[in-house]
């Protein structure tokens, strides 16, 4: 893919992707920006084989999710788990702190499924293709994520 064309795609999708990654990183804006940069670089490097213009958004989300997962893996290998959760527990944007803390309490897969379904309004089928799991598994993640979020949000409101 030509650079100009790629930059046009980035311009049209970057805000949506950064919003999604900010929620996925539980409010850590600088981490979300770093992951977004890494996502676009990875996409650019493998863009030669990309042909379907209409599916750019789904493709970029899949790369973003995989980038986030590999970041988390690296984090758990290099730092201990306490430090890892501390990183995600410190939102740089305080306007949604309650939501970020609730999101930090659920698993990465549940969080991604919830965000893609409710924030990005993606269908179960699309989420399944992004997460590379079955539609049934997505429904399970959504159901579990909803339950966990419910408990965490109620707890946050009580405190």
């Amino acid at each position: 893919m030509e650079r100009q064309k790629f930059v046009r795609y980035v311009e049209s999708t970057q805000e949506m992707l950064r919003r999604f990654l900010t929620a996925l990183c539980c409010g850590d804006r600088s981490l979300a920006d770093d992951l977004a940069q890494e996502t676009y670089i990875k996409a650019y490097l493998s863009s030669d084989g990309f042909r379907e213009d209409a599916k750019f958004e789904a493709w970029i989300r899949r790369i973003a999710y995989n980038t986030f997962i590999s970041y988390k893996r690296k984090l758990t290998i290099t730092a201990d788990l306490d430090e890892a959760s501390a990183v995600l527990d410190e939102p740089t944007d305080n306007s949604y702190s309650e939501l970020y803390h609730a999101l930090a309490g659920i698993s990465d897969k549940e969080r991604t499924a919830i965000l893609l379904y409710y924030m990005e309004e993606r269908s179960v089928k699309e989420i399944a293709s992004i997460l590379d799991i079955s539609s049934e598994a997505v429904r399970q993640q959504l159901s579990r994520g909803r339950q966990h979020l419910k408990v965490l949000m109620i707890n946050a409101q009580l405190q």
């Binding site: 311009e11 670089i41 409710y118 979020l149 949000m153």
Partner: protein
């Protein structure tokens, strides 16, 4: 908490993001770096191909020229073996037959390796000078 509650929570989700122009400028710099590395590795592949071509040509010529020396090496071996050993047993005659070709092959391999190394350096420098001039 049901579907509509969650939809309401996320409907108004609009966190503060860093300025888009800053994000795009940073990405632009990273893409420049990626393209520079891409260009470099493409150039490196081109240089390796050219060096390989030069090495093949030199090895072919060296192999041909060195194979012309085999009869001389052969007689030299016979003389040498005759000088060292008084009896000419058949097991040494095989050695005498093979050794000149082994020497020629080893020489061709050595020449090829050195040629590849030299060609890589020389062609690499030329391409670098040409690219600096072009800039």
């Amino acid at each position: 908490m049901n579907d509509s509650d969650l939809k309401d929570i996320f409907a108004g989700f609009n966190p503060d993001l860093s300025p888009s122009d800053k994000f795009m400028a940073r990405l632009g710099l990273e893409l420049d770096a990626v393209e520079m590395i891409r260009e470099r590795s493409k150039q490196q592949r081109r240089i390796s191909r050219m060096a390989l071509f030069v090495t093949s040509a030199v090895s072919l010529v060296a192999g041909f020229l060195l194979s012309l020396t085999v009869p001389y090496l052969d007689s030299l071996m016979i003389k040498l073996v005759g000088y060292i050993l008084s009896d000419s047993s058949p097991k040494f005659s095989i050695l005498v037959d093979c050794l000149p070709w082994v020497i020629v092959s080893a020489a061709v391999v050595a020449i090829s390796l050195y040629t590849y190394d030299i060609a890589l350096t020389v062609i690499g420098r030329r391409v670098e000078i040409r690219s600096i001039r072009a800039e």
